[in-house]
């Protein structure tokens, strides 16, 4: 790609809910471990941000295997939030990030609202860039039938209580398994969230017809990957019209083109999940591809792309 000397390189940097990102391409929670697993393959400093695997108060063993099965253009997982717990995270995992110049967003989940608050308080003063409240893990049942993010009332409670407990930038990760995601996003905005991450996985399942058993030991799991992209994109589009806080678009992003669709639909940033498994360089290729697209289309600033969808009717 040729570029005249006077042309300034396009600006991919954004300010996301108060966090400065070099570019709008992050890696999604649970798909990039604690960063270190991919550090040999990916230059972490190039990423917009890393969202760490969801952390809970106590270490969690997670669900029994099998936990993964591939479906048409998708993956079902039922990890069940296996994680080292907040203390080990702070002591053993956080120090790793000091070597890198990349914003770290810590995803947290609790069985109760109090646990969310406690997690947020525990992370106060740590060298992290923001929090993501995971209210939408389909593999955990909080002692009841639904996830937090399936109910506007509990969503409001968690978000507003955590909001009071922390001054860190606060994202809320929502579930697509709802009738009206805009109303849940609005509740987050009202409760003081700085942004919403759309979307977590869809609850799905797969059956082995020979044994007549579910393939996942947990019966159901969360569906991710290219299969869900059209629905995720629609949700970003809807939520963009419903709230003013920034949106992180997530769901099936494999290419720069996919990421641009999300940005055009209204996402300030995007996060790559399953795409990391397919090709660890996906985030880097997406960043490069966005830059090339901007140069080709003479777009100076990525911000001008956000929500730039041209609808012939409304």
């Amino acid at each position: 790609m040729m570029q005249k000397a006077k042309d300034k390189p396009p600006n991919l940097g954004i300010e996301l809910a108060g966090i400065s990102l070099k570019n709008p391409v992050m890696v999604a929670s649970g798909t990039f471990g604690y960063g270190e697993e991919y550090a040999e393959l990916v230059d972490l400093n190039r990423l917009g941000a890393i969202v760490a695997k969801t952390i809970t108060l106590k270490p969690r063993l997670g669900n029994e295997p099998p936990r993964i099965v591939e479906t048409a253009s998708g993956v079902l997982n039922s990890i069940g939030l296996q994680n080292v717990g907040i203390d080990a995270f702070i002591n053993e995992k956080l120090p790793f990030f000091r070597e890198y110049d990349v914003p770290l967003i810590v995803s947290i989940a609790g069985d109760t609202i109090d646990e969310y608050v406690q997690l947020a308080k525990t992370l106060k003063g740590e060298e992290i860039s923001g929090l993501e409240l995971n209210l939408s893990c389909p593999n955990i049942k909080y002692g009841r039938k639904f996830m937090f993010a399936q109910d506007p009332k509990t969503t409001h409670q968690v978000v507003s209580r955590v909001r009071k407990a922390t001054s860190l930038p606060l994202m809320v990760k929502l579930s697509p398994n709802v009738t009206d995601i805009s109303s849940i996003a609005r509740v987050c905005e009202e409760a003081g969230a700085d942004g919403v991450s759309l979307i977590n996985t869809f609850t799905g399942m797969a059956i082995d017809i020979e044994s007549r058993k579910p393939i996942l030991r947990q019966i159901t799991g969360g569906l991710s990957g290219p299969a869900i992209k059209p629905i995720a994109l629609r949700m970003v589009y809807e939520v963009h019209r419903a709230v003013k806080i920034p949106i992180i678009g997530i769901g099936g992003i494999m290419t720069a083109g996919d990421a641009l669709e999300f940005i055009i639909a209204g996402a300030e940033a995007v996060a790559i999940g399953t795409g990391n498994f397919v090709d660890p360089l996906t985030p880097i290729k997406v960043i490069d591809g966005i830059r090339e697209y901007m140069i080709r289309n003479k777009i100076k600033d990525i911000k001008s792309m956000v929500g730039s969808l041209q609808c012939r009717k409304s």
Binding site: F32, G33, Y38, L41, P65, V69, Q82, F277
Partner: protein, 265 residues
């Protein structure tokens, strides 16, 4: 661990639905240890969406080899690849077999291979015969039938003793490779226990694990689970292992090779 586009040097059938592929991958070959694997993107299209893992079968100069069986879409597409094409691979991944240390009292090695399990064990046999030339290696190979038997000659060429079992009795012992192992037991008290290394179907490994518990010999097994990332990030590939009560270990990173004793089966 590196990610490279490796040129396919050979991709040929070596038995019913069995293929051998050689890849130009000096960066991986240099680092590779027996029991480690590569994670292969079989197609830019999907399915298959996820990569597919294959044990490193041999390292020879600049090239590495894998040996695989066609069982589904991914391996089918792999088998159609032509020489000269490129494959996006990650490797070497995982923790391989722990070789007997020079000071150990082990004098006998037994390798038990079921089906394509021979793949990683041949690499292991080569490594042992170089590093621990004094050890005698017995290889027990199991397969459904004589057509599906793999690598017998390769092991012999390394100086291993080879015994064969087929389920239909069309060659060697009629039965399972794990039966062969049991036939060698109980071991006399006067000589040191053998070190057993096993790779094959999980039922076979389970059985061998049990035997090793009963007869108390050291035993490493190489497991297969459905992988996603292959690098330890997603926690998708765990197996139950002993811990305070229990814990989950990642096949792709903490394994694929485990001490049989640490697993909860």
């Amino acid at each position: 661990m590196v990610q490279i586009d490796a040129k396919i040097l050979v991709n040929e059938g070596i038995g019913p639905q069995r293929h051998k592929m050689a890849l130009y991958a000096p960066q991986i070959g240099r680092q590779a240890k027996p029991g480690q694997f590569i994670h292969v993107r079989v197609s830019n299209n999907f399915p298959p969406l996820l990569r597919r893992p294959f044990s490193i079968h041999r390292v020879e100069g600049q090239k590495i080899e894998i040996l695989y069986k066609v069982v589904g879409k991914g391996t089918e597409i792999l088998s159609e690849k032509k020489r000269g094409e490129y494959l996006d691979i990650l490797g070497p991944l995982g923790k391989g077999y722990r070789l007997p240390s020079a000071t150990s009292k082990i004098s006998d090695i037994i390798l038990v291979a079921g089906g394509t399990g021979v793949a990683s064990l041949l690499f292991l046999a080569e490594a042992i015969s170089v590093a621990n030339a004094e050890l005698s290696i017995l290889v027990l190979i199991g397969a459904k039938n004589r057509e599906e038997l793999l690598c017998e000659e390769d092991f012999r060429r390394l100086g291993c003793r080879v015994e064969v079992a087929t389920e239909n009795g069309s060659r060697g012992y009629k039965g399972l490779a794990s039966d062969l192992l049991e036939n060698y037991l109980p071991l006399s008290e006067d000589r040191p226990k053998p070190a057993v290394f096993a790779c094959g179907p999980s039922e076979m490994l389970k059985r061998i694990g049990k035997i090793s518990r009963k007869h108390r010999f050291p035993c490493q097994v190489s497991l297969e689970e459905r992988l996603a990332c292959g690098v330890g990030a997603c926690l998708g590939c765990v197996v139950k292992a002993k811990g305070s009560s229990y814990t989950y270990k990642r096949v792709c990173k903490d394994g694929p090779v485990f001490d049989a004793g640490e697993l909860i089966w």
